[in-house]
Amino acid sequence: MDKPVVIVVGAGPAGTRAAQTLTQAGLRPIVLDENRQQGGQIYRRQPENFVRPASKLYGASARSATALHTAFAELLPHIEYRPETLAWGVVDQQVLVEHNQRVEAIPYDALIIATGATDRIMPCPGWTLPGVFTLGGAQIALKAQACAVGAAPVFMGTGPLLYLVAWQYLKAGIKPRAVLDTSSLKTRIKGLRGLRHRPAILAQGVRYMAELMRAGVALHAGIQPVRIEERDDEDGLRVRGVTWRNSRGQLRHTVGDAVGMGYGLRSETQLADLLKCDFAFDPTSRQWLPVTDEDGATSQQGVYTAGDGAGIRGADGAEYAGALAALRCLADLGLTVSAQEVARLRKALEPMTAFRTGLETGFPWPWRNAASLPDETVICRCENVTAGDIRRAAGSLDAPELNRAKAFVRVGMGRCQGRMCGLAGAEVLAAARNIPIEQAGRIRSAAPIKPLPAKIRGIMT
């Protein structure tokens, strides 16, 4: 019998360790990577002709980054690596891919989805202005392009990435004008119960904050974003600063020429959705996630999820989860796996899960802000659908959940398929109808899950 074909979607920490585990069992997995080079977002590489050492690029995670890159280099002869390849659909045990304007259907026996995450976004007036980027985007500019998104950036949002990115900018010689965090000191203390499960990571976060403060960067807690201010002059339309309320409700203004914003991360779950995997509402993150067992097996036979795409547990957690999902996949394919290794990985993931709960408690998604966004605030940036449009859908048009609202007013209908607006749109709708968020639903995925070129070639069998 031919060896089973396992496709791994994604080449970040989870996808890499999944592929490695499969090769160790003698399989030759196909690894689909939308990026040009392996590493995912967190360990994203700079172009080949850049010279900064890993210590400069990845800071405290340099060792993990280098280890993952090295492991992948050693894997290359044993896998079929397809960089710059978009997995845009899945049907009849085949992943539909596009590479260089050619489409192809690749059959599989098992599928490991390790598609990672993007920033979780709570819109505010002005967030579509040139100069406003996600925290992840601001970090990619620095890491992969050696550029700052502005000379005087303001970082706004919540979560560990907020401080990491602000610190990385400081180290790169670009002093942030302020770090504006919607989480309060009180919630952060509550989060410690979970955060203490990973003391080294916690200490690192505290160090970033301390170094920012020592450099004179103001760190504000418990803020409420009011709007990102614009200027329109000979340079064109762009960011002028941020207006916000402090924890006592007083109006404040910070001048800056760029904004990095993000409120934690959201999982990329479209492929599992196309496969009709069961999803469940996760009250900790207020997101719908694929239902899996502790090893990453979904409700669909032969389909596994791992890493941040299955629920946010961070890069180290993703490495364990990738290996664990691959072991589970191998066992399901009838191959022998080490029970000891499975037990070790499950145990290693325990503190990650507790830490995650600590993060969501300490730096919560500010979902309540959705209710108070002015009607004219753009929520869906693809099609400029506003909070008022969604409220009209929820009210006079009587849309009970997000997909109906999408049909009525096009929220989430645009090219990003709700990646940027889906969570906030659901919050706006839930607040307008005064229903629990889990009743507001989630935007259904549709193939192609990302836009395909119009001049597509190839044969689909």
Binding site: F133, C147, A151, C416, P453
Partner: protein, 99 residues
């Protein structure tokens, strides 16, 4: 017009020239189209619903806000497409009828 982005290092790379809306723009080898355009100016394209400028958002291929076009009408995601010597792009969609 001043650029949005600032280079912080890696400035020893070879310069290349691309053409944006018929005008030459100098970049460095390894820059993405987004980097090249936002070092030279403040926007990538106009949002088709309000005709206001956009300059990308996520830089990781998720938000689809950074698209530009080749002169022959192919759509490119500026954040994940390298600027290569001689590349000719436009920042407004080429009408289908002219293709």
């Amino acid at each position: 017009m001043k650029g949005l982005f600032r280079r912080v290092s890696e400035t020893q790379r070879s310069p290349i020239t691309i053409t944006v809306n018929g005008q030459p723009v100098t970049a460095l080898e390894g820059d993405t189209i987004l980097t090249a355009l936002l070092l030279a100016g403040g926007q990538l394209r106009m949002n088709e619903f309000d005709q206001k400028p956009r300059a990308g958002f996520c830089l990781m291929g998720a938000c689809q806000d950074c698209r530009v076009w080749t002169e022959s009408g192919d759509e490119l995601r500026a954040c994940s497409t390298p600027a290569t010597p001689g590349l000719r792009i436009v920042t407004a969609e080429v009408p289908w009828t002219s293709q």
